[in-house]
Amino acid sequence: MQAILSYSFSFFGTNVTIAALLGQGTLGLINGAFYACLSLGLAVIFGMLNIINFAHGALFMMGAFASWMLLNYLGIGYFPSLILSPLLVGLFGIFLEKTIISRLYKLDHLYGLLLTFGLALVIQGLFRNYYGSSGLPYQIPHVLQGATYIGFMYMPNYRGWVVLAALFVCLATWAIIEKTSLGATLRAATENAPLVQAFGVNVPRLITLTYGGGIALAAFAGVLAAPIYSVNPNMGDNFINIVFAVVVIGGMGSIMGSIVTGFALGVIEGMTKVVYPQASATVVFVVMVIVLLTKPRGLFGKAA
């Protein structure tokens, strides 16, 4: 084992060890967890509402702020926040859908994109106005402090928790959509909403709840992110560009595609940091270009 881990090779003049590759790959899973949660929410929303939700990063940020506020104003800790913040931000999403976004369904995609982009700017601006942009600290909960040796590296416990929690929520979402009757109704409404409504399903309400659910996923990721990154109004920006690339690579609207692609790109990005650090910020987009050239509908996208 040690021999394998310490094996090293040279790549464009960079000395690369297997241990470093594994370590960075594992850390990449953490970013991957955020990519997966966020792109999953985007995929669900796009499938049902036909809207490219540019406000996703801002609502992710709101999830982190909600947990900070719950702690600092109400004394509610991390674990209750994991449920409460997505619930509160999801309700805010429902409010946005009901009052503003639902007016755009008959128009071109572009209007939804512009509107949600504007909403993102407004939300970020409001938070910057009240909380500044320097960032607020959020402590890692006590039971998740420390680190554990996992054979080739010390894994900070909190980061391991983030990966597992995100994986669990993503797979649960997948199971709801692919394996339950509610999920069957959702998939059917994605295909032919008027007919599903003519069978007696209240499709407008289903759409509203879907948006709320997608937003709750983003807020959940925000709560997970709060102790890792400082809680600040722009924290969603770093993620959202990559997440859009993830959605495109996975295939617009594909559920499993977003989860697998999210985690995989986190790992690829991490490993690139070892092999060729200069490319780590762009490797996702290189992958996107390659995928679009070879499979224009994305890795998991369905043929038209």
Partner: protein, 231 residues
């Protein structure tokens, strides 16, 4: 049971239905006959609320439904089997069958539906909706609305493009559900088929009902009907 009066419908600027009047009594099978573009499918969709704009009166079991949403209309006990069948490709056969919510007691059980359509049972476990043959898709589209407890069924060209043996099976099914007390409004191009199942026929032209013929008097009116349908 269903009373349609002065029904008008529009798609954007095009005025498709110009005052449609007809009624369907409980337990009847009634057809809408007419050439392509006469407004038969639009009439079906208008009853269900599936057109962008409709005016007039659609009274079902004594209640006006003209201002209701499609999901509310469905809950009053009307179900549609659309012309394009509307089988969902991302759903399995069983999911397609179980998709429409139960709106009233008294629908057929899944086993009864499988007895009517044995092919569906064989395909239920494996196939996805769109892998079915045209006939199987049509059986699925009819079968799934029999489950819901809706007693008024709108069947839009259920025999279109199907092999004669399957057309016969669908004919048997319509007679069977009529015997069980269902009411059926049927759009048909094939009036020979319609004659084997229906009590009355309405003839449509240019978005209006222009005639009504009792099935018993169909033979006597053949000449007139050929003229209407241009066959």
């Amino acid at each position: 049971m269903l009373d349609v009066k002065d029904l008008n419908a529009w798609y954007g600027e095009s005025h498709i239905l110009h005052g449609v009047d007809f009624n369907v009594q409980e337990g009847e099978v009634v057809t809408l006959l007419g050439r392509n573009g006469a407004g038969k499918t639009t009439t079906m969709k208008s009853i269900m609320g599936l057109v962008p704009r409709r005016e007039g009166h659609v009274v079902f079991k004594g209640a006006e439904t003209i201002d209701m949403m499609p999901n509310q209309i469905a809950r009053t006990g009307i179900a549609i089997c659309p012309e394009e069948r509307g089988i969902f490709g991302s759903l399995s056969v069983t999911e397609n069958l179980m998709l429409p919510p139960i709106v009233a007691p008294g629908g057929l059980s899944v086993n009864e539906i499988y007895t009517l359509f044995p092919n569906l049972k064989e395909r239920a476990r494996t196939a996805h909706g769109t892998r079915l043959s045209g006939g199987e898709q049509q059986m699925l589209a009819i079968g799934r609305i029999l489950r819901t407890g809706a007693k008024m069924l709108l069947l839009d060209e259920p025999t279109e493009g199907l092999a004669p043996v399957i057309v016969q099976q669908i004919g048997r099914t319509i007679r069977e559900i009529k015997a069980r007390g269902f009411t059926v409004l049927l759009v048909e191009q094939n009036f020979r088929f319609a004659a084997t199942v229906a009590d009355r026929h309405y003839v449509m032209e240019h978005g209006k009902i222009i005639d009504m013929i009792e099935n018993k008097q169909l033979e006597a009116n053949m000449g007139k009907l050929h003229e209407y349908l241009g066959v």
